[in-house]
């Protein structure tokens, strides 16, 4: 490994290690599994650097795609499913345990979101939790940027127009 390789590697590693770990953790909720899949993601990325072509997409999208594929492989082995969205759980955050009001709010929103198509839900998670741009999401899901934006918009629109109970509860809880 040359010095340049080493330094560039460290920059990339520091830039993405937490992001990729979080991305995987959000979809597994299990520390050891998240660490294992994060290791696999970086090893695979490192092994295949020569195949990466920045003219075809950003490095971030590329490494997130590897992470997503590892997750799909994991679910296929562990659960017999490749739908990673079946695993996503909105309410396992530790801070929710402390906040009864938030639990109630979340229950309403989660109930609706779970009825959404998996791809719509995935885009919401990527945009809100992973803080990925629509461009990155589009590259990872191999969709157009516009369709990802539209999907997020429609999801939010549906939640706030077709789920009045949730909104009412939110307002009530907020009032107290």
């Amino acid at each position: 490994m040359t010095q340049i390789d080493d330094q560039s590697f460290n920059e990339l590693y520091d830039l993405y290690i937490t992001k990729i770990y979080n991305f995987i953790y959000y979809r597994t909720h299990h520390k050891e599994t998240a660490e294992d899949l994060t290791s696999k993601t970086f090893v695979k990325a490192w092994e295949n650097l020569s195949k990466f072509d920045d003219e075809k997409g950003a490095f971030s999208s590329w490494i997130y795609s590897i992470a997503r594929n590892n997750l799909i492989d994991h679910y296929r082995k562990e659960k017999g499913t490749s739908d990673i969205d079946q695993i996503i759980n909105f309410s396992s955050s530790e801070n929710i345990e402390h906040d009864t009001g938030l639990k109630l709010q979340l229950e309403q929103v989660e109930k609706y979101l779970k009825e959404l198509p998996a791809d719509q839900r995935d885009i919401v998670i990527m945009r809100v939790w992973d803080d990925l741009s629509y461009k990155e999401i589009a590259a990872i899901l191999k969709k157009s940027e516009a369709s990802c934006k539209m999907s997020f918009y429609r999801t939010m629109q549906k939640v706030q127009t077709h789920f009045p109970i949730a909104i009412t509860l939110l307002l009530l809880i907020k009032a107290f």
């Binding site: 330094q7 490095f59 396992s92 906040d99 997020f152």
Partner: protein, 524 residues
């Protein structure tokens, strides 16, 4: 308003401006989504372990040769490389001038001396309040080279009343046969609720205050190394024109040999062999001569990638533990690496347990390299991670030729210490023990089967703990009870070797309740 929330709303308004009239509702929905985001802390030990593993991995191509778009980063790299060359030249010149004198720091101490600077009580700030660290008193009150710490003293004194808390002698890393090693991908998920049982002698905490330690960063400000570099004029740039220039970290490399990185802030030195293939990887078939320290980078880079199975080695090819330890010891002796702050070496061989349990040994993947661990000791006390694994300096070696491929976490060995209040209510500690420690989880399935895990007598040791204050994380070493797992169900994966419970009151009071995997708390 939160910037991310604002951005999300603006994106929606761009698509449909009429949504502005319903901003209140939208804002609340997005706020709920943002609040539900799991609060995750990446394990810093894992982060650094993986970094070292990847650095040992055979690189295929500099990614920065591929990423054309980031010109600035390229500049930084070239500049960094030039600086690195200067540092190498500077270090060589310094070494020649000083006739291999050991580097002396500004305060007169030497690296690896094991000095502990005692600070006032609670000097690292409140350990349960992320914003409390700035008010801490960090003025030293005494400097005692290898002074007998409060922790060690109290543990020794407690021998009579609490025999289980005697100082721990170095133990084998081998896991009890019934405890499978961590590898979640090789298991079939089966919901199980684990009950951790300790029914040994009563536990006592030796003191109402014990020492918490923090690694001291290496300050090179007043060293000759720093002096020789900060006034250097390269022609391209004059370092002397910058104020208070200091050496932050540096790497020195042998030509086609080893590369050594000194990280003063982290207080560590890491070494790795350039052009080595990844220890557990498949890049270079074992039948060909192994990439060694002398192999040229071009030949390594052009190595043909073959499937893992082609580079599979046999169990009979794996050297015995003593051979690996001897090879590691020889390397350490050859390079005058100090073992002052480490215990007796042990081979990390968790994979062998998995191998023994495997029903298909023919296809079981056997790693091509192993690690000899020199367990860290601070004032003679062992250091563990939260899963009960010993922490220390790892020396990685190829099985084929027993060549050292890396050394990770050679600590500089100097610390600050401060007394903190301990949790003396044993019932609170035992409540955490029964749950399996501070990072456990419970399966979601209400019909999950229940299994007992038996724990042995605890020993008072140190646990690594990452404290987050003011957006900075600091590694601390805190007193903790280590309950070894002595009996576990054979068919249930357990990721830890021991239940580890820190006994500093601040830390315990800050613990979140155990989270639940796949079980929404809201459905209770």
């Amino acid at each position: 308003m939160n910037l991310q929330l604002q951005n999300l709303l603006e994106e929606l308004y761009t698509l449909d401006p009429t949504l502005r009239t319903r901003e209140k509702e939208l804002k609340q929905i997005i706020e709920v989504l943002l609040k539900s985001k799991p609060d995750i802390k990446l394990d810093q030990n894992f982060r650094e372990r993986l970094r070292i593993e990847l650095q040992n991995h055979q690189p295929k191509q500099s990614v920065f040769n591929s990423i054309n778009q980031n010109k600035m980063k390229k500049f930084n790299i070239y500049f960094g490389s030039a600086l690195c060359l200067l540092l190498i030249a500077g270090a060589v010149a310094l070494q020649a001038n000083k006739n291999k004198q050991q580097l002396q720091l500004a305060n007169g101490t030497m690296l690896g001396e094991g000095k502990i600077i005692r600070l006032a009580d609670n000097a690292f700030g409140s350990l349960n309040n992320p914003s409390a660290g700035t008010a801490a008193n960090t003025q030293p009150v005494a400097a005692t080279p290898l002074a007998k710490s409060t922790l060690q003293q109290d543990v020794s004194n407690s021998t009579g009343s609490a025999p289980s808390l005697k100082p721990m002698s170095p133990m084998s890393l081998s896991t009890p046969a019934s405890v499978p090693p961590a590898n979640p991908l090789l298991r079939i998920y089966q919901p199980t609720e684990l009950h951790y049982i300790y029914d040994g002698p009563a536990i006592t905490i030796p003191s109402d205050k014990l020492e918490v330690l923090k690694k001291t960063a290496l300050d090179l400000t007043s060293t000759q190394l720093n002096d020789s570099l900060k006034n250097l004029n390269l022609g391209l740039i004059d370092f002397g024109t910058f104020k208070n220039l200091n050496v932050d970290s540096f790497t020195v490399s042998e030509k086609d040999g080893y590369s050594i990185t000194v990280d003063p802030k982290a207080g560590t030195i890491n070494l790795y062999a350039q052009n080595q293939n990844y220890g557990g990887g498949c890049a270079i078939p074992l039948a060909s001569p192994m990439a060694s320290a002398g192999t040229s980078s071009s030949s390594s880079a052009n190595a043909i990638i073959r499937p893992c199975m082609e580079s599979q080695i046999k169990i009979s090819d794996v050297p015995d533990d003593q051979t690996l330890i001897d090879a590691a010891n020889k390397f350490i002796a050859d390079h005058h690496i100090s073992l002052k702050n480490y215990g007796a070496p042990e081979v990390v061989s968790d994979w062998k347990i998995q191998y023994e349990q495997s029903s298909d040994k023919a296809t079981f993947y056997i790693p091509t390299a192993g690690t000899v661990l020199y367990p860290a000791q601070i004032n003679g006390i062992g250091v563990y991670d939260q899963n009960g694994n010993k922490v220390g300096m790892g020396v990685a070696l190829n099985f084929a030729d027993q060549k050292v491929t890396s050394i990770s976490e050679l600590n500089l060995g100097n610390y600050q210490s401060s007394l903190y209040s301990t949790e003396t209510d044993i019932s609170k500690i035992m409540a955490i023990v029964e749950k399996g420690g501070t990072d456990t989880y419970y399966p979601a399935d209400a019909n999950a089967k229940t299994e007992d895990v038996q724990l042995g007598s605890p020993k008072l040791q140190l646990m690594t703990y990452w404290d987050y204050q003011n957006n900075n994380s600091t590694e601390l070493f805190v007193p903790a009870l280590i309950f070894p797992i002595t009996k576990a169900p054979a068919d249930v994966p357990i990721y830890k070797k021991a239940v580890v419970v820190p006994i500093i009151k601040d830390i315990l009071s800050a613990l979140p309740p155990p989270y639940q995997i796949m079980l929404p708390g809201i459905k209770k």
